[in-house]
């Protein structure tokens, strides 16, 4: 029997949901354990083995001074590093602090900010070390996560579909929530992977998987504004779990400028 793949799973600032997506593989988890050695997976096992690892999955974003060193140490111990989820790939929901006043945020949450170590920004792993592949989603899809591990096991190139949620939605024959119900939906801009669940539940996509390949963001926002939505209504849609993904961040900034210009012209 060939040697098992040595897998390490490491967590930074996050909610644990992407690691849970692996535990949610349930029956496949037992099969996976035949092929993979969970060498570092503290959430699931007390047996912690040091590196080197064949594959490391990183959940969470870099948000404390200690994270800066730890990610470098982990990178040195692994052949391949894959980020899992919106936090590790784009900074996550906690990146909403990035434009804000960090000291003020600290004081709002902690009576003694001096006890707490925190950076003013929450940033993706790729800002700090080289990353071999970024798996999107808040949370990641269990099937895609298993596929990444399988790709590594079989020496395949990592790849997941990079088309939009909108295309998956059409393929499922879901009535378009934007066209039929006037609900703003990021489906045309967002990478597929979730199965178009929001339109299936009669609501607009809110961008959990981040911007897809080749988006026409301005085209969509122009259309939504012509359809009667205001810039201020659209801003929170982009300032969400992937707020710091460049295309979403750029669009949010543009909408904020438009909104304040509209405010000024009203006065």
């Amino acid at each position: 029997m060939p040697e098992k793949l040595r897998l390490g799973i490491f967590k930074f600032a996050s909610c644990d949901g992407c690691q849970l997506s692996l535990l949610n593989a349930e029956e496949e988890l037992l099969e996976l354990a035949e092929l993979v050695e969970f060498a570092h997976f503290p959430e699931a096992s007390s047996r912690i083995e040091s590196g080197p690892y064949d594959l490391v999955l990183i959940e969470g974003s870099i948000s404390t001074p200690e994270d800066l060193d730890r990610i470098q140490q982990i990178r040195r111990q692994t052949d391949t590093l894959v980020t899992i989820g919106a936090c590790a790939t784009a900074g996550g929901i906690q990146a909403l602090r990035n434009g804000a006043n960090h000291d003020e945020f600290m004081k709002l949450v902690y009576p003694h900010p001096e006890y707490v170590q925190s950076l003013a920004t929450s940033t993706p792993i790729s800002n700090h070390v080289s990353v071999d592949f970024e798996l999107r989603g808040c949370p990641v899809d269990t099937g895609q996560l298993l596929q990444i591990i399988s790709d590594k096991l079989h020496h395949r190139k990592f790849s997941v579909p990079d088309h939009s949620v909108c295309r998956d939605c059409k393929l499922q024959n879901i009535v378009c929530v934007s066209v039929a119900r006037g609900i703003p939906c990021l489906g045309p801009l967002t990478q597929a992977g979730c199965g178009a669940i929001c339109p299936r539940f009669h609501r607009g996509c809110y961008g959990c998987f981040g911007p897809c390949h080749q988006t026409n963001t301005d085209g969509l926002t122009d259309w939504l504004i012509k359809d009667g939505h205001s810039s201020s209504q659209l801003i929170p849609l982009f300032l969400n779990v992937n707020a710091e993904a460049p295309e979403f961040a750029r669009t949010a900034a543009q909408l904020i400028r438009q909104d304040s210009a509209e405010g000024e012209s009203d006065e």
Partner: protein, 432 residues
Amino acid sequence: MSESRTIRVGALTRVEGEGALHVSMNNNVIDRVELNIYESPRFFEAFLRGRPLEDVPDLTARICGICPVAYQMSSACAIEAALEIEIPTEIHQLRKLLYCGEWIESHCLHMHLLQAPDFFGYSSGLELGKHFPDEVKRGLRLKKIGNQILEVLGGRSVHPVNVCIGGFYRTPALDELESLIPELEWGLQAAIETTHWISGFNFPDFVCDYDLISISNSSDYPWFGVTMASSKGESFDVQAYEQVICEYQVPHSTALQAHKIESQTSCLFGPLARINHSRDNFHPHARKLADHVNIQWPCNNPFQSIQARSLEVVHAFEEALEICRNYQRPSESRIPYQPRAGVGMAATEAPRGTLYHRYEIDDAGLIQHATIIPPTSQNQKQIENDLRDYLPPLLSMEDDQVAQACERLIRSYDPCISCATHFLKLSIERVQ
């Protein structure tokens, strides 16, 4: 001559998130016991300010991937209280069903993959599965049924997408809930067998003197409710939560701790609190089982909270079956509302204990102020106090054995340190 000794051992594992324990001793007398949660600040209460109220359930869900439904429920109920929205029974029942899914998923994960390995000395649920393949497979299938409920009602199991202020974006069709029934029927029987299996474990004899706090209702086992029961004090209304319980900060942890304001005493939240207060409100199978498995009531042994969890899983299956069998699709999926200024608070029972939210909203429907008190903050002081009582008879053991025993106790509370970032260390400092 005094000799100082500091020992660092292992990593605290099989908990959701990461933290550390620091024990210091002076001449074999315990000086300090500190549970360090190196929770990386994520500033939810800060960035919620200025957000439209509609965004809050999806945003707060991101606090915890293990119990997102609890965050969606407490936030939705608190905002609905502020807007004076009354949720009709049939929509409320669907929310309960969603919560059943989360309890089943989270409890079965904890029971099988996190805590059960401790009773046999194994390092993981996967290792346990080699020796108890049928029991672990059964547990994983039970967990999967919890996830199926979440997927049918919410689209996916982690951060489901269907909860909104006023109800749901879409209610399930009749056949969607009917399709769950066969698995739920299997699950109920399997959960009963699991409870018998777990009740045969060898529980350390460790009984604590708890102030148990949970929501308590006259007839329902609590997921939702407006009255908090306390085993060492008066019941209080959720409206008065922050007059009874307060959060405070300690230097050794970035998670805020909580205690009762008046007495400054710690409290225990979670399955043991709920089951001691409310087991009479269990459905029949769970109620009967609670009397027939080896539990002495009241039960104040934290190691036995795994039994409480398994009984709650039985109850959740009975509840889910009842809701699915009696389901009639409501004519409206949600109650319409106009945003307006107000203040609202609500508590619901997350798998690991009471989760309290309070929001102030302005005329435009934007959040002005948010307060979130999660169960693990509220349990943290109690965990430290229990460790202090648990440690003395262990001190003759080697450090790594003491560490393991402490970890086992900490795990029994199912702490959810989900925002934690740093590796967990256990350090014992002996000054002789």
